[in-house]
Amino acid sequence: MTALSKLPASKITGAISDAAERWRDADFPSRVRATQRIAERTGYSLPVVEYALDRLFFSIDRASLEAVIAGELGEVEILDGFRKRADRTEAWARPIGNVCVISSRTTIGVALLAALFALCAKCDVLVKDREDSLIASFFETLREELAEFERGARAELWRSTDDETPALDSFDAVVAFGRTETLAAIRNALPPETHFIGFGARASAGYISRESLCTAEAAAEIARGAARDIVLYETEGCLSLHVLFFEEGGAVSAAALSETLRTELERADVEFPRGEPAHERLAEVAHARALGAFRKSGSQDALAEPPPFLPRLAHAIPVANPADALEYVRRHGLALEGFAVSDNRPDIIGMAVSAGAVRLARFGELQNPPLTGEHGGRPRIAEFVRWTDKTF
């Protein structure tokens, strides 16, 4: 029996929503402390961290949580006991048990959402926190809302090299965010009956159609959004814009679009000032830019160049059609998370889906995924429950 198993699910979602509401206030003392610590850990500038926390906590509300639960499980109450289901057996979505969530180095709060949905499923949750203790701080607020979280929601900081680390094989499910090698190591350490949910490193792309480049104003609006998608989190996130395809033949020329994008990147630099990663990797960025110019001077096909994966730098590639973009993604073996698109043209949408993107968004919204969507192409809560059917 888990710490939250006797609580109605709606009480859990309510408590989480209330705690998140307190964290929406930028002056909330716990948030103020966490903001500073996150900035120190990630090296991101304070406006970037504030943006991330706003985006995180404004997205967490009772309605959204319950909409996800109802969408994935049928109804919220099915977490509380057996419920009749239309055309299906009566069933109860019970907690899978103990869940361990291992957060990644760069992301801000992504582990929190996984942990919260595991809590909604009434699991006991242990989060491997980062040095900023964001999760531990939020769990404190949760405990102030509802005492049962004391036992149900824990966050600790440990390193894999520590003498005493939680035994991962004691968990019923392990959620991990990180590099492919890290995920493979964790997965290999787990017994077969442990449910492993891994979120590996991914990239994101964007596609600007020639139709959307109809006027300078339209191009500027797209560029503004693209610039935001590039600079946020120093282009280190899986939803950062790493590759930008634009169709040739639009009313706005490639050179004009490039200039507009440069202007908008400068503006975005003001709104979201550069953090340490951008400063530390300045030489690599400068070199990558120069190398891009060198390749261009030799008429090298831009499709041959892999994405640079450097802070505030995206590879802009002129293409004739979506097929070129798809070829690029496949040639360079890009595992895609998001795809920003300038319009709803069916061949572009089809290409983005074929390329493996699990989220399509408008430019400027790539790094703002709604809570009500899936994460990484996977359900948010369904993997934290074990179904019990009642067939009599």
Partner: protein, 363 residues
């Protein structure tokens, strides 16, 4: 070969060699711009790049600092040389990353490279050495790694300045710790000072192995010995900060800090920077035919002391590209010295550092 080319190249080489011999470049701008003009005429991919930046024979730069630097990575993508690479006397190849191919630096003549490296090493590392050193290289030999600029450089150094008994302790991916210890003991017994040269990663492996054998601190080097360390740890699972590494080396071999000298070079350059002194922070200085500056992300030159991407202008690179933009972060000061920042985790390394990744000590 075009006669006019040969005449011009020989004249430039003579001027560069004279500057190296004199340890003085009378007019850096003049020589740099003459070399640039030569490269613009004869180095086609570089000329195309310069043209794309608006630089041509009709629109020449006015000073050495405005010569367009070629990105070091371009050496992976084109034969950046003023001559037919089939005629190259020296061919050096970067180790590349663990996933990518290495760049190739073709040099028309060994004379310039040899003169430059020997003069630089003599001045910065040997200094007041009273007798020939015995060279102990934690590197693969030239035979084992014929395209390693670092192995070539140390072979030339040992042949020129050494006692005639150089040793190489890296073979393939193995570090011969036992052989190193035996040779070191022999040197100590005979009182012959050593110069131990190697990559940072190789030194870390050596120290680990010595510690494993319980031999630290127990290997004081004969008086007058030196250590030359180069490179960093890119792509390695284990990174030791340079200051810590130097302290460990000083302890292990009973050397004063100023006898542990950091070298900074690149396969794409013919000339090297060396630590000016053993005091932290260690500034590096180059010889008069090598100058540097830092640029911002867009390639704009930064004022003295401001951290940016390093650009080097090496006059000894006559037959390739004199101006090279690196992936190294650092600051250049008014006296021409530079401080590297974070190269331990930074750009690709020259020569053998990557090869040392999987060094396994021979037990």
């Amino acid at each position: 070969m075009n006669e006019a080319y040969r005449v011009e190249a020989d004249a430039l080489d003579a001027d560069i060699l004279a500057a190296i011999a004199a340890q003085n470049v009378r007019d850096f701008d003049d020589l740099a711009l003459r070399i640039f003009a030569h490269q613009l005429r004869n180095n086609e991919p570089y000329a195309r790049y310069c043209a794309s930046l608006g630089i041509s024979r009709a629109r020449m730069p006015r000073s050495w600092e405005t010569i367009p630097p070629v990105p070091a990575g371009a050496f992976k993508e084109a034969a950046l040389c003023t001559f037919d690479p089939a005629r190259a006397e020296l061919i050096f190849q970067t180790s590349g990353t663990t996933t990518g191919a290495g760049g190739i630096h073709y040099m028309e003549s060994a004379r310039l490279y040899d003169a430059s490296l020997l003069a630089g090493f003599d001045d910065a590392v040997l200094g007041d050495a009273h007798q020939p050193l015995r060279y102990a290289m934690l590197l693969p030999s030239v035979e084992g790694k014929p395209r390693s600029s670092l192995s070539y450089m140390m072979a030339r150094v040992a042949n020129t300045f050494g006692d005639g008994r150089p040793s190489w302790y890296v073979d393939g991916d193995e570090l011969d710790t036992q052989g190193f210890i035996e040779d070191l003991c022999e040197s100590r017994a005979s009182g012959i000072p050593l110069c131990i040269a190697g990559t940072a990663f190789a030194f870390v492996n050596l120290l680990d192995e010595l510690a494993r054998r319980g031999m630290q601190p127990a290997l004081p080097l004969p008086s007058g010995s030196r250590i030359m360390e180069t490179g960093g740890f890119k792509g390695r699972t284990r990174v030791v900060e340079r200051i810590d590494l130097y302290k460990q080396l000083a302890d292990a071999f009973s050397l004063p800090p100023h006898d542990i000298i950091g070298e900074y070079g690149m396969t794409e350059l013919a000339t090297q920077y060396y630590d000016r002194s053993g005091e932290e922070p260690r500034a590096k200085v180059g010889p008069p035919w090598l100058r540097s500056y830092a640029v911002d992300e867009s390639g704009k030159q930064l004022p003295s002391g401001i951290v940016g991407a390093l650009v080097h202008v090496d006059l000894a690179n006559r037959s390739s590209c004199a101006a090279v933009q690196t992936e190294d972060l650092g600051a250049v000061f008014e006296d021409g010295s530079l401080v590297l920042i974070g190269r331990e985790r930074g750009a690709e390394l020259r020569g053998c550092s990557l090869d040392a990744e999987s060094l396994r000590a021979v037990s």
